[in-house]
């Protein structure tokens, strides 16, 4: 269906040339679902966009054959005719990928008119029909709505409808579900799958969600730093990865662990794509690296079950689970003192303005939680259910409309100024976005030292010494004291946030989606850090996340939240094995989990291709 040979993409930038894709070959079989996985920045999106000529400034070499023609040498007008009509594309971010000034309907019919001579009425009928198919209720009425009037999930459906409306034989879906809630994710994936079966469409799906891929893909390709690391049937690759990187990714996924286990993280972080390494791109992070890995480009190994791996290892790696760390016990202790007690907290915002009728929008509708010292309580729920608002109420940043929040037995509502300041030391927040929550113009040392300065705890050399001590604790190099946040990776920035939260020995740390912006391998590092800090320092965590696998991995108890209410609260394992509430069951059913690795089976090396890897 689609075949790429020795595809390389480089993008000239001000800092130098980014080698986003290096010598990648693959072939997509008709009617299948071809998955492309890999961490952020591994070149997945760039590769597919380059194939379709959507990166005007990129330098693309190699061959991409589609319907007997090389897309890379096709004249622009011919390629333009293929786009949309023969190859549909669904983009990563449904919120920014639709034009804000044109109606949904106009944007879909535009695609039809671009390729076929049809009357506006006929185009409209087809678009409405397709919108209905992708699950937009009363599509005829919503046809003239604008993108901002649609929710994120609906916009992604619109993107899918737009890509499918001309019934192209090939669809490229770039992270079609990443921006969405788990329940919506499941619906979208089911929809794509159904369309594929009904219309016989071939789908190339890019995602970093390995669980998702293992469930739906026929074949997968794993990319790292622009290289194709591993390629093979989904079953073979996920059950027994042959490349150390794939194995590492799977080992980093919390869903492959029992609750409370130490994750096996991949150390380090992805390399800069500005310089092509002489040897294996993964060498600095690889647990199996040999001396020649760093200096010589690895050959391509082909195994008996069709799996191909770009690695010096001749045999597939041992399943990493064999070397798991011993299960560390739960931290929870039912007799430990209660740190936080949230009692029937309600919160509502006034809506409506000066002239219109004033209303009341209830965000929290009677929340009860209790947290004991050393415990981690997970709070899960879909976006908009009120998780972050509850976090703010607990942190004392918004007063509750009614009900009480007791920290160390003291009611927040009755605190005087000194008491409130003290409380601000006792509760710390770590936010989701490691890029937005640090002031880019301040040095890391100053950022971490802020709590000391604001609460006048330490100054001068003493403060610096304590900051460096904290940096050491969270695994940052204390010598980087004078660097700016931009010089750190996402995972390191999250460590900065954690160090800042730890500064004043808080009784409670609230993590609001601390790892959702991070890649699995980095996410595993941060989760491990959080766990070891908890054990060493006896910390209490409130952990907010939409990712059920992560929550299960780190939490003692889990509260499931829906529309401002806690619908279920139980021991972590119990929630998973024996959910009591319908909504919890929906959430669980929607999350997909990669299958456990089974060991390498009977795989044999059949061929080694030296020199330029295919």
């Amino acid at each position: 269906m689609l075949e790429a040979r020795h595809l390389s993409v480089s993008i000239p930038t001000e800092d130098g040339t980014i080698h986003a894709v290096q010598d990648v070959s693959f072939s997509v079989e008709a009617g299948g679902l071809f998955g492309i996985a890999g961490e952020s920045g591994s070149g997945k999106s760039v590769m597919m966009q380059a194939i379709l000529g959507l990166l005007p400034f990129a330098d693309v070499t190699g061959e991409v054959i589609f319907e007997g023609r090389n897309l890379l040498t096709l004249p622009p007008r011919q390629l333009q005719k293929l786009r949309g009509a023969r190859i549909g594309m669904i983009f990563q971010d449904p919120l920014s990928s639709l034009h804000p000034y044109y109606s949904i309907g106009a944007q879909i019919t535009e695609a039809i008119h671009a390729h076929e001579k049809v009357s506006p009425q006929a185009a409209r009928a087809r678009a409405v029909d397709m919108l209905t198919k992708v699950g937009i209720g009363n599509a005829a009425e919503r046809f003239d709505s604008f993108p901002h009037q649609y929710s994120g999930g609906m916009r992604q459906r619109v993107m899918i409808a737009m890509a499918l409306v001309l019934n192209p034989p090939l669809i490229i879906a770039d992270e079609p579900t990443t921006a969405l809630d788990v329940t919506v994710q499941a619906q979208i994936v089911a929809l794509l799958d159904q369309m594929r079966k009904e219309l016989g469409t071939t789908v190339v799906m890019i995602t970093h969600d390995l669980g998702l891929l293992s469930n739906v893909a026929d074949q997968v390709m794993v990319m790292y730093a622009g290289n194709r690391m591993e390629f093979g049937s989904s079953a073979a690759v996920f059950h027994a990865p042959s490349h150390p990187y794939t194995a590492g990714l799977l080992a980093s996924s919390p869903s492959n662990y029992a609750a409370g286990e130490e994750l096996v993280a991949i150390p380090g972080r992805p390399p800069s794509l500005l310089h092509m390494p002489a040897g294996c791109a993964f060498a600095v992070r690889c647990a199996y690296a040999m001396p020649k890995c760093a200096t010589q480009r690895p050959p391509l190994r082909r195994f008996s079950d069709g799996v191909e791996s770009l690695c010096w290892l001749e045999a597939p790696v041992e399943p990493i689970h064999a070397e798991r760390a011993a299960v560390s016990g739960r931290n929870a202790d039912a007799t430990a003192p209660v740190v936080l007690k949230v009692d029937n907290v309600e919160l509502s915002f006034a809506t409506g303005g000066f002239f219109s009728k004033a209303g009341k929008y209830e965000v929290l509708k009677g929340i009860d939680i209790e947290l004991r010292r050393g415990e981690t309580l997970g709070l899960v729920g879909e976006s908009g259910c009120g998780k972050s608002t509850l976090a703010r109420v607990i942190a004392g940043l918004i007063p509750a409309t009614s009900g009480s929040v007791l920290l160390d037995g003291k009611d927040m509502a009755t605190l005087d100024h000194a008491g409130w300041k003290e409380m601000r030391k006792r509760v710390q927040l770590v936010f989701q976005d490691p890029f937005g929550s640090l002031n880019p113009r301040r040095r890391v040392g100053a950022i971490i030292g802020d709590p000391f300065r604001l609460h006048q705890v330490a100054s001068g050399a003493d403060r610096k010494w304590r900051v460096q001590d904290l940096m050491e604790t969270v695994g940052l190099n204390p010598e980087h004291y004078n660097r700016f946040p931009s010089e750190f990776s996402g995972g390191q920035r999250q460590r900065i946030g954690i160090a800042r939260a730890l500064a004043l020995n808080p009784a409670l740390i609230i993590f609001d989606e601390p790892v959702s912006a991070l890649d699995v391998s980095i996410q595993a590092q941060v989760l491990n850090l959080m766990r070891s800090l908890q054990q060493e320092l006896g910390l209490t965590y409130l952990f907010i996340s939409h990712d059920l696998a992560v929550v299960r991995q780190v939490c003692d108890r889990i509260a499931v939240m829906n529309k401002g209410k806690i619908v279920e609260l139980a021991e972590a394992e119990a929630i998973y094995t024996d959910p009591q509430n319908d909504y919890t069951r929906t959430l669980l059913a929607a999350s997909v989990v990669p299958p456990p690795q089974k060991g390498r089976g009977t795989r044999q090396l059949v061929e080694t291709i030296w020199g330029a890897p295919a």
Binding site: Q49, L52, L54, P76, Q80, K81, L82, R83, G84, A85, G88, M89, F91, D93, S96, S97, L98, H99, P100, Y101, Y102, S103, Q107, E110, A111, A114, H115, F146, H148, M159, M162, F355
Partner: protein, 317 residues
């Protein structure tokens, strides 16, 4: 929408009231005796007293103020100190020239500036971009006055020396009965006005387009298989209209209040020229009239821009 509009109009009226109050008191405290300006240097003291009584200048200031505002609301801005003609009709006589200048200038500068901006943004760093940037730099750095003088020299003076008339030196001819004559007389002023302003629009368009063309929805438009023309104009340019409209509203309003330099250079009897004469003559009613006219155009254009926003951006509807 109706309420929104009513609010904007009420606000505009308030602004104009504040503006008139401000100019009124500004001129009241300014030095100089209006009666002497009306009567001339040879007037006797008795004549001056008579004139003051006629103009109501002997009344207490609050009465004068109420009188001024009351008349202004009815469209009576008083009489020129110089020739005793109503200010309103003096301004009305001058409006056609200014309107002609602005209308033609706007069309011309948009027609030049926007395409240059787009061309520049389509090939950032390339030859065409450098060409466009060169135009922007020259346009922005040339004073209108110098450009006007130069074009007069090249298109009027040199041909005249060679013995024929390519363009007239200036002056305003009414649109009717002969639009061709009108346009012929306006050609050089238009070009001068458009060239300097086009640079501003080219720069604005270039910046906006560069940003918009990197947006995800532009990629979506390409992925649909739209032609590059459609991608650039229907999807790209559409998204840059809002800032363009904002700039355009402000520019038109300012110019309608008097394009002083160009009117002077080409001898166009427009509002700007009137203002200059009035200032030279210390003719306060006219100065107040021109200031209020400028204020009126600014609040009017603000209202129009606000309405256009609502029409252009579905998100604020």
């Amino acid at each position: 929408m109706i309420r929104f509009l009513a609010g904007r109009v009420a606000f505009a009226a308030l602004i104009l009231l504040v503006l008139s109050t401000f100019v009124f008191f500004l001129f009241f405290v300014a030095p100089g005796d209006p009666a002497r300006m009306v009567a001339g240097d040879k007037a006797t003291e008795a004549q001056l007293i008579q004139i003051r009584a006629n103009l109501g200048l002997d009344r207490p200031i609050h009465e004068q103020y109420i009188n001024f505002i009351g008349k202004a609301v009815r469209g009576d801005l008083g009489f020129s100190y110089r020739n005793q003609q109503p200010v309103i009709s003096l301004i009305a006589n001058r409006l056609p020239a200014t309107l002609s200048l602005v209308a033609g200038g706007v069309i011309l500068w948009l027609a030049v500036g926007i395409p240059i901006g787009i061309m520049s943004a389509r090939h950032p760093g390339g030859f065409r971009d450098r060409l466009g940037q060169g135009f922007i730099l020259i346009g922005l750095s040339f004073p209108t006055f110098v450009l006007g003088m130069m074009s007069l020299y090249v298109f009027y003076f040199l041909p005249r020396q060679a013995g024929f008339t390519l363009f007239p030196a200036g002056g305003f001819k009414a649109f009717w009965p002969n639009p061709a004559i009108w346009a012929w007389h306006m050609a050089l002023p238009w070009a001068t006005l458009a060239l300097t302003t086009a640079a501003v629009y080219a720069r604005l368009t270039r910046g906006q387009m560069l940003e918009v063309m990197g947006e995800d929805y532009i990629r979506t438009a390409r992925a649909k298989g739209l032609s590059e023309t459609k991608v650039v104009f229907k999807h790209g340019l559409r998204a840059t209209l809002t800032p363009l409209v904002t700039q355009l509203g402000a520019d038109i309003a300012l110019l309608l209040g008097g394009a002083i330099v160009i009117e002077q250079v080409y001898g166009l009897q427009g509002v700007g020229a009137l203002a200059v004469q009035a200032v030279n003559n210390q003719d306060r009613p006219i100065i107040i009239g021109v200031v209020l006219l400028g204020g009126f155009f600014i609040v009017l254009s603000n209202i129009i821009v606000d309405i256009l926003y609502v029409l252009l951006d579905p998100r604020v509807r």
